[in-house]
Symmetry: C2
Subunit: 558 residues, 2 copies
């Protein structure tokens, strides 16, 4: 650790992850050293039409690229690593992660052709990493993916702790407890600021242990008289291990389907995070040759994603596996907000095929959350005992509820900061304050385009999606302004033409009359012609249909 | 009741409400007499872009209009009455409903200019209505709107019971218990078929009493040191009464905002379903003049609807009422699936304004469901004791769970029919069977258009919403096919033009080259030119952007 300079300060801000669920990216700067924690992606909001994914605006980091010492990655979930392929293209800095986390990142970087040029540094919970004047160390946490850690950043101005995503699982599947002792030790030495996961801040009590799920899975497997299909998040290796264990206990073989499930199971097995006995795995093609009560199918699709393996099976369009009447399907997940309808539809389709469907998450005991509930959040705050508290990783209401919990455990109300994306907290001489904003926001990715879709394009997509478009084509004579051809009206997404001929004929007359009137008045600038056609036609269509399609007049002169 | 003819039979089917939540409409026919139960609307699914509402296809009824004896309406919710203005335009038949139900219907018909021509017949729970060979009677139920009834249809072939929406509330707010005795009596006389509400068939146990909410509201009102805002469904008159009662108990005045809330409170007060002491109501304009702890604001917007009063207040755009730091806002509802994000956003915005926000439904005790849970569904089946059971009012998985409950209480598995929309059950000689389909489906309403938006238009809207549209305009010479003007490429919802000039310039070259090539090959039919331009441009854009905008080539000849 370098010596303290009286004018130096800690600056903390989020480039993503506050006021939203997703694209987690937090920055801690001391003097000329910047440490980034995570670089996630977010799935688009419902008003971001046509957008594939959303990543943080990292212009603050690219403008200060010489100061960025590296990206510490807390765990391997998409909302923490999914932005890396985009971020690393513009900011080639070292990445630090535990074994499984790096394994998952490397598979991503390989796809993006970035593996060779990216420096990847393996850490474990005992690593200490000097990053200029900041010294990073780690502590083990429990989460719905193994090998997750919290981060402890010691600076001359004090220690900043970032929890990563966490719960306290007192009976963890892999025997690796959250490191209460190290957290206690960190707390005892003194922490100036804590950034802590707010996902379940609205939920009272304790989140149940992942190992509860295993017992229930085994019960269900035992009762099932035919094949069992289990859909869960691929990255939930503990869950996957419990599926394997339940399969072993009930003398069933296992097959794995869905791209991300195959990918994660492969990586996790290779790295020693999954224990699959020899001869346990069978190919999907072999399923139909086996006795139905000797097979478990582990699948993607727990969110009802349209192209996933489970959705295909539910629709009877999976190439290799059909659901048969009497099969048991377990959806071991709860729908992420926004996905309820997709999951519901998948359940409906599975029921229609005659399957027994076990769904609904915690009610049926086949899913538990990976995030700590209120009592666990309080436990974390009481262990770390920070002077300042910044709730992160959550929508505003979750941050707010977390702040209230902070007050309950005795953190001073004025020492709790709920921040927006880009809003900075500066700590100097032991005192923290809000100190302006750095550039920040959403970068929208649509196909290969990164950031080329902005508000105007989205607004147009919204308009088009509501009432469609009418293109009005007219050719005018350059000499005398008479109509040489058209108006032709082409409609897409407005009305079904064959059933609305009368309406479109009338629309045609409106355009013709408008143009004739303007000619008679000697109005002949294009802009004026277009605006008048647009207004007259828009008014007419709204009166007739109460709809406002986009109108695109194309007036040509020859 | 007319005499039985051996060839006559009962036919039962749903025109809406099975396999979906919404647009409830059920049909029971005996010989030449058709009785319709309810005529609801549904809100559009997320893939029905730009659609306002969805109603049932009633072509079976209009084709058999001389047989339709009337529409029995079980209660005044939109998913049971919202289709009436459209249905009655094509099918002028009498409507039967209880006082509040008719009151709400009449307000709808007035807006649609249908009040004069519609025969409305007031019934109560004791009414007996002959409808040709079918005799209708009713039984009182509990639901989240007063004056709800179930329907009992006696035919020469046996009695069919339709529960309407129901729960069993043993401590109802208005003292009106579900009529257990009449249900028992009906059951004892013998019922051939039961159609019963499946909404909460997935939920174990009993739904709590509405009166639980009242106590919690009063507690919250008492602790609130400033104004209290309560948002709930306008039609939940019991809830509204409890808000009024809690306001009285805590010495607060009440103001009502939001169009549907004002409308329903007015109708319900006039008809005697709401008891508001004189001097209790104040105008919204008076709120700011009152001491903050003397006011309750009753508002719409419990679903986070974008234009609702609560949403406007949360965004600080309500004309009359601002939320002040320290105000208490109660959202006394749970989000309908699909609305979670809207409600979440409203809560976020209210928190940002400094309000105490109480939300989350049953966890905080400010909302209970209006539909019975599994034990209540079993109670209903045990009271009515039907030979055949048809679960209605629910998505497929709910119907399925309800069917399983039916088996549990001893209804023969082969006597339980889960039906699709339009699928008929015929009962003759005491035996029921599935017997084909009648025309049925969704009629989409977009603005003033009823049914003029079909799959092609929706598919276009979907395409447009994802990647926008490119219009390519070229004028060719009639003589020699040379390009006289263009190609001009106009893009909407594809890319932001100023940032993508290079791409569009290149697109332009592609179109020009394609046309030149075709000219040289003497290809000059429009269809061919268009297809070639579309394909070449589409291929190029997909390679460059991985997007597939709609491409509309407009080729003019002069």
């Amino acid at each position: 650790m370098s010596k303290k300079n009286n004018t130096d300060k800690i600056t903390i801000f989020a480039l993503g992850g506050v006021g939203e669920i997703g694209k987690n990216m937090y920055v801690v700067q001391y003097a000329n050293d910047i440490v980034v924690v995570d670089a996630g992606l977010k799935f688009p909001e419902e008003d971001m039409l046509g957008i594939d994914i959303v990543i943080p605006d990292i212009s603050y980091l690219t403008e200060n690229r010489d100061k960025v010492r590296g990206i510490l990655v807390t765990h391997g979930h998409e909302d923490h690593i999914g932005g890396l392929p985009y971020v690393l293209k513009h900011l080639n800095v070292p990445i630090y992660g535990t074994k499984l986390t790096l394994g998952l990142i490397e598979s991503k970087l390989k796809e993006a052709n970035l593996l060779g040029e990216t420096k990847r540094i393996l850490i474990d919970a005992d690593s200490v990493v000097p990053m200029g004047s900041i010294q990073a160390s780690f502590f083990r946490t429990n989460h719905s993916i193994p090998d997750s850690v919290g981060v402890c950043l010691e600076t001359p101005e004090g220690t900043v702790v970032h929890t990563g995503d966490f719960k306290f699982d007192h009976t963890p599947v892999n025997g690796q407890y959250a490191d209460l002792h190290r957290m206690a030790e960190i707390g005892k030495k003194g922490v100036i600021a804590l950034l802590s996961d707010s996902t379940n801040a609205e939920r009272p009590g304790f989140t149940p242990s992942e190992s509860n799920v295993g017992k229930n899975l085994e019960d269900i497997f035992r009762k099932a008289q035919q094949r069992v299909v289990v859909a869960t998040f691929a990255s939930n290796i503990h869950r996957v291990q419990q599926v394997i264990d339940a399969a072993i206990a009930t003398n069933r073989k296992l097959t794995v389907i869905g791209r991300s499930m195959v990918n994660v199971v492969t990586i996790a097995s290779e790295l020693g995070y999954l224990h699959i006995p020899d001869g346990m795995l069978i190919e999907p093609e072999e399923v139909n040759k086996m006795a139905a009560d000797r097979v478990v199918i582990l699948s993607t699709g727990s969110q009802g994603e349209p192209m996933s393996a489970l959705t295909r099976m539910a629709r009877n369009t999976h190439r290799k596996i059909d659901i048969l009447p009497g099969d048991t399907v377990i959806i071991a997940a709860t729908p992420i907000p926004g996905n309820e309808k997709f999951v519901g539809r998948t359940v409906d389709e599975l029921f229609r095929l005659g399957a027994h469907v076990i769904y609904g998450g915690s009610i049926t005991g086949v899913h538990v959350s990976g995030h700590g509930s209120q009592e666990e959040l309080k436990l974390m705050m009481n262990l770390i005992k920070p002077k300042y508290f910044i709730p992160i990783h959550g929508e505003y209401r979750m941050l707010r509820q977390h702040a209230l919990l902070g007050e309950q455990v005795g953190i001073e109300k004025e020492n709790i900061f709920i921040v927006d994306i880009g809003e900075t907290i500066e700590i100097q001489g032991g005192a923290a304050r809000k100190a302006g904003k750095v550039p920040s926001g959403n970068v929208l990715i649509d196909g290969l385009g990164v950031g080329d879709v902005g508000n105007i394009v989205l607004r147009d997509r919204k308009l088009l999606s509501q009432d469609g478009i009418l293109v009005v084509v007219v050719t005018l004579s350059k000499q005398d302004g008479t109509i040489l051809s058209g108006p032709d009206i082409i409609s897409r997404g407005f009305v079904y033409v064959r059933e609305s001929e009368g309406l479109l004929d009338e629309a045609n007359r409106i355009v013709t009359n408008t143009l004739h009137k303007l000619m008679n008045e000697n109005v002949n600038e294009w802009a004026s012609l277009k605006t008048n056609v647009k207004d007259a036609l828009g008014r007419f269509l709204y009166e007739q249909t109460r709809r406002r399609p986009m109108i695109l007049p194309i007036i040509m002169e020859v």
